[in-house]
Point group: C2
């Protein structure tokens, strides 16, 4: 074989789904994964395996820091009978850092009941959703490769691989220290098309100007990228671990696999494209939000519009149809076909369906508040907020959480009611533009393949797909935007961190949104730090 | 005079209130301040004077970065006829930084229509509400003192003064380069007792082991601390600029003053204590939120409880009584004395007062939703949310914004209704514990001195102060907490970044809060980055 690397070490990739702060659960998963890889020479885990990622300001809690250290040491002892593990955790660096003990982000090698520091992360990202220098200080130098089965394995931690714009180059250091292969322990969140960047940087690391020990004939050394899978709040970690030009693990699911460094990979079927990738990311985001917060049930409003229809499909797939309740709340302005479509969608999905008429509450509000306060836009807001009350009463009496159904385009415009249709603990479509929602709906309707089968073709009723977008908050209302033009234009503006008057005027609304699952480069969430008060 | 420094240079402190992104307005204020200090040798402004502080991710907008540079250069030309200015702004460093041009946080000396870099900030904080390495790279070395009126003046920018935990020491560098005095251009946000830390660090900088040129007989050199005043979202900048052991400028207000470095200060009357300091901070926070967002009017719910009473006093002082509307929304569970007290408070304050009965909307909701959804805690939430609808209908029909009246203790416990009493664009008391609210109320009732006079003694009705705290959401309800015990205990927990089950369970509610004015070391806001999803 021309691509024979001469590397006969057996590496297991343990792409597992940890929960921030769940030390007992995370250690259980680590041990379970290692048990499945008994014949490996080394089992490699994602970054920050023991504490879960990202713990953020929990790292300011001294008792948590201590508990993680104790749990990490304990894991090393418990793993005595298992193959050597590369596990992510942290430890105080000994320095002081903003009135707290400074921490190192560490890869530990655990072997024969002992643990040693295999690497300390040097590149600490502070952009987008990353704030690592807030808690961590960088490692002072690249630690040499570890030796496993007679081979020198260079260990890197996440951003250490993305070193192009930095002055420190851990990968090059490791190759200079005779690394015969590299492993990268990562927690890289999903965004559309993210796989491409990861492959580019992994290839860049694997490359070397001169053949090194263990390198293939094309001058590269093998590199294994191990990524976290699972979601924490707005961040969806998509897994997709891989060997460069070799095997790939599944996206959006746990997997443990002993990889063969000598197998030249063909284009993987697991490399999802477009709508399918996006859909599965959102499903994982909603599923883990529920599971990791100890909830099973969710409810959402079904308007007979495209956004709530797609959100319902995501919810059903994430939580199981039996755990989802769709509630249609028609008003005097609602087209009967809207409610009929909502009911049909619920039937197609197998989710619970309820219908509550808005009229009585709407009418009483108008009587109490008078025409000034209940007319015009103020009156439209009242309808949206009464719907919130109905939806939240289901959540508050029956448990679970409210799923928000807004899309990114309307959130960008502020074309939505604060404490009304903007309510919800989690927003699966808040980072998905209107045109992307349309794309998802059409893709779903082609007969979406799901766990345990396939959704029926035409799952989302025709009326939903063909109607003009409308909030149905007054007579014959249609959304005053041509979404085909507006949706991509606004998205470009958000990506460039520009804003217009409508964006500025609605900043206070987005400030008060629940979790918006991040799937783009610039999502409305904790990674977009724009002051509300600005000119 | 024993404290004669031999420094006869006349420095003007320009403690001005800038607005993020309002380049025209900020430059107007800079020029106006400089006009008032025509006889000074140097006019010193706060950090980031031209762009306003903090611009945060607006710094990712290339057009904004360009506009600030152009405005800064233009200011230098416009200030040709004025005394030399030290103005804060920024410029690209020439490096690349996370896919954006890296920026330097710069102090410019503007003189005779020209500008030169006087200092580049080296210490970039990344804790609490600070995220500076996200946009900036540090200056590579300390630039030498500038020469003004024959004296060497060392220039520092904000965190450069807080160098204890860093390995770089700009103040010491400047003294080693023969600085005869130091000026610190700052944007330090308020928190209770913040003056103490500033004085400590300023004194530390002024100190030197051996007398240097220009130093006083006690071995110190003069140091002038210039601070921003005004609020941006949750951050309140309190001014309070000072000369160490010399003059002090006002707190919470703009002021331009030529300071005399040879005057030994007595304890200033401007150094506010306790409740007065806190009250004035909150007033500035609400006032600037309204003004800088182009709003005049606000409305809030008046329950006859202590939190909404104190919030109303703050609102009246911040916006003018004529711009504030208090709305009492009694329900079947409301003690008539609650509403009477709300009305009396409004009368005492001179704010508008309205009363809307909740009963009809409450009753209709119960009919529509049935006993399961409208009973128990779910029913209590419905009442709180109907009140939100009534309050927001006033805002939506009449303009302005809703002021939230929650206190920090109930927010910590999650003893409040999401989209109900947790609604509001800004929360003046969301970082003020229950016991601190009680302290404010008692202090107010002693006859609060305000602009243009004095509030009457006993402004807040006796019933409000003496009653047991209650949400009045069911018959004979009282809050199930002993706040004297719980309030300080929870505050200690928040400060230590610990949490209990109630805090964890209510994280999703606080995630969706509006702006919470920060007055403590750990406020619920953008500076507290705790994952909602955690174990």
């Amino acid at each position: 074989m021309s691509q024979e690397t001469g590397i006969h070490v057996k590496i297991a990739i343990a792409q597992i789904n940890t929960t921030v702060g769940d030390l007992t659960g995370n250690i259980r998963r680590i041990l379970d994964a290692a048990e499945k890889a008994q014949d490996a020479d080394l089992v490699v885990f994602p970054e920050m395996t023991v504490p879960g990622y990202p713990p953020r300001d929990m790292l300011y809690d001294a008792s948590f820091v201590e508990a993680v250290q104790a749990a990490t040491a304990d894991l090393a002892r418990q793993a005595r009978h298992l193959p050597p593990l590369l596990v992510g955790s942290f430890a105080p660096s000994g320095e002081k850092h903003y009135q707290h003990p400074a921490l190192h982000n560490i890869a530990y090698l655990m072997k024969d009941g002992e643990m040693q520091t295999a690497q300390v992360k040097q590149l600490l990202p502070v952009y987008d959703v990353f704030f690592e220098p807030r808690w961590f200080v960088p490692g002072k130098k690249t630690l040499p490769p570890i030796e496993i089965a007679g081979k020198k394995i260079g260990v890197m931690i996440c951003e250490d691989m993305w070193d192009e714009d930095y002055s420190v180059h851990p990968g090059a250091d490791l190759k200079a220290m005779d690394a015969e292969m590299l492993v990268v322990m990562s927690a890289v969140p999903y965004r559309k098309g993210a796989m491409e960047g990861r492959l580019y940087h992994a290839r860049r690391q694997a490359d070397s100007t001169a053949p090194l020990r263990g390198s293939t004939q094309d001058g590269c050394i093998p590199i294994i990228f191990v990524n976290l899978v699972g979601a924490t709040d707005e961040l969806i970690f998509d897994g997709g671990s891989f060997v460069v030009d070799g095997e790939e693990l599944g996206r959006f699911e746990e997997e443990v696999q002993v990889v063969d460094l000598n197998t030249k990979g063909t284009k993987s079927t697991k490399d999802l494209k477009g709508e399918e990738e996006l859909f599965r990311a959102l499903v994982l985001g909603v599923r883990d939000f529920a599971r990791k917060n100890g909830m099973k049930k969710a409810c959402l409003g079904l308007s007979g519009g495209i956004d709530s229809s797609v959100a319902a499909v995501i919810a059903a797939e994430a939580l199981g149809a039996e755990n989802v309740t769709g509630i249609a709340i028609p008003s005097r302005y609602t087209d009967p076909r809207s409610t009929e479509s909502a009911r049909e969608l619920a039937r197609n999905l197998g989710i619970k369906f309820e219908q509550v008429s808005l009229e009585k509450m709407h009418e009483t509000s108008e009587q109490v508040l008078g025409p000034d306060r209940s007319g015009g836009v103020s009156g439209e807001n009242i309808q949206a907020r009464l719907r919130m009350i109905i939806l939240m009463s289901t959540v508050n009496s029956g448990g679970g959480f409210l799923i928000n159904t807004s899309n990114k385009t309307e959130l960008t415009l502020g074309y939505s009611t604060l404490y009304g249709d903007m309510a919800g603990a989690i927003s699966p479509l808040g980072d998905v533009t209107k045109m992307e929602v349309v794309g998802l709906a059409n893709w779903i309707n082609n007969g979406l393949e799901v766990e345990g089968g396939r959704f029926k073709i035409g799952l989302i009723p025709d009326f939903v797909l063909k109607r003009k977008p409308t909030a149905e908050l007054k007579e014959n209302q249609v959304d005053p935007f041509d979404y085909e033009v507006v949706s991509p234009r606004l998205e470009r503006m958000v990506l460039a961190d520009e804003s217009n008057a409508m964006m500025k005027a609605s900043e206070h609304k987005r400030w008060q949104m629940g979790v918006v699952l991040k799937v783009s480069e610039r999502a409305f969430g904790r990674g977009r730090m724009v002051p509300m008060t600005r000119k």
